[in-house]
Amino acid sequence: MEVINQDGTEDTPKIILDKNNGIFEISGRSLPEDSAEFYQPILDWLDQYGADPNPETVFIFKLEYFNTASSKLILDILSKLETIESTTINWYFHEDDEDMEEAGTEFSELVEVPFDFKTY
């Protein structure tokens, strides 16, 4: 399967989606001008991946900041992951960033996917 590997910018996150190496990660800042357009390729990739997923999927969110428009798309990603068996979310937050911790908790309450919370 095609690998998505794009560097982060000042307003978009770094993204790695690599089925063969089992790396699924979104990190950095997310405040793109058009979040729906930015995340569409990721949602498409997950649709394809969902049709033939790895036995286990650990999806990492290590976000420093995301805006409200991105939060809707993050929920869309989580909704896709919800349908993929044996998926775990590793939700990273900076140890003094209560807001990011809370954001993770809220997402975990909206979808049926196990979340592991980790600090960095």
């Binding site: 409200t68 939060s71 809707k72 869309d76």
Partner: protein, 196 residues
């Protein structure tokens, strides 16, 4: 040339560290954010406060950008002055993020109701509202298609209220038969002990 001195005095009096007036785009948003961040870094602001100010600034700026785009698409009447103003004040105990932009009179009541509702809620109420709005978007399909065209739906205001932990201050000043000037002010406390 007296206006220069007047403007300078106003900025000093109001502790304004940044004022931008003009057209708002994503590029401008990024520049404004970068300037404000550099300023906060330079004075050694704590990362917690920096994050909150950044958060409120992003929602505020992107609200203006979205509004400007929506107006272009929806409104047939040309805005008297399409530009908006954005300011950051830095006082000893707080940051003040302010914006002002013209809105059509028909939207005044909608905005007012939305903001009053947000201000009537406590921390848990805001959390519930946030989850309701975001869930609604999910039920109505991916990409936030169910929400307002540009992904608005007032999530930005809710987030500003949540991150600042304070009420949103707002005002509508009539411009003419078609437009009003919408001012919005969010205060972020620099006092770490003050947890709301």
């Amino acid at each position: 040339m007296k206006y220069i001195y007047e403007l300078h005095k106003t900025m000093v009096e109001r502790s304004l560290i940044l004022v931008y007036e003009g057209e708002f785009t994503q590029e401008i948003t990024k520049s404004v954010l970068a300037m404000a961040e550099r300023n906060m870094d330079a004075i050694g602001e704590t990362s917690n406060i920096k994050r909150k100010v950044f958060n409120v600034m992003v929602e505020c700026l992107q609200n203006i950008v979205k509004h400007a785009e929506d107006s272009e698409e929806e409104e047939e009447i040309e805005s008297p002055n399409g530009s908006a103003v954005f300011m950051i004040g830095q006082e000893e105990d707080k940051y003040i993020v302010t914006s002002g932009n013209p809105v059509v009179n028909a939207k005044v009541e909608i905005l007012q109701t939305k903001l009053e509702h947000i201000n009537s809620l406590d921390k848990d109420g805001l959390k519930t509202l946030y989850k309701e709005i975001i869930k609604k978007g999910r039920e109505q399909g991916e990409g936030g298609k169910g929400l307002t065209q540009k992904g608005g739906a007032g999530l930005g205001f809710v987030d500003m209220a949540r991150k600042s932990g304070q009420k949103l201050h707002f005002d509508f000043e009539p411009i003419d038969d078609h437009f009003s000037f919408f001012s919005l002010k969010t205060i972020i406390s620099r006092n770490k002990e003050e947890k709301k």
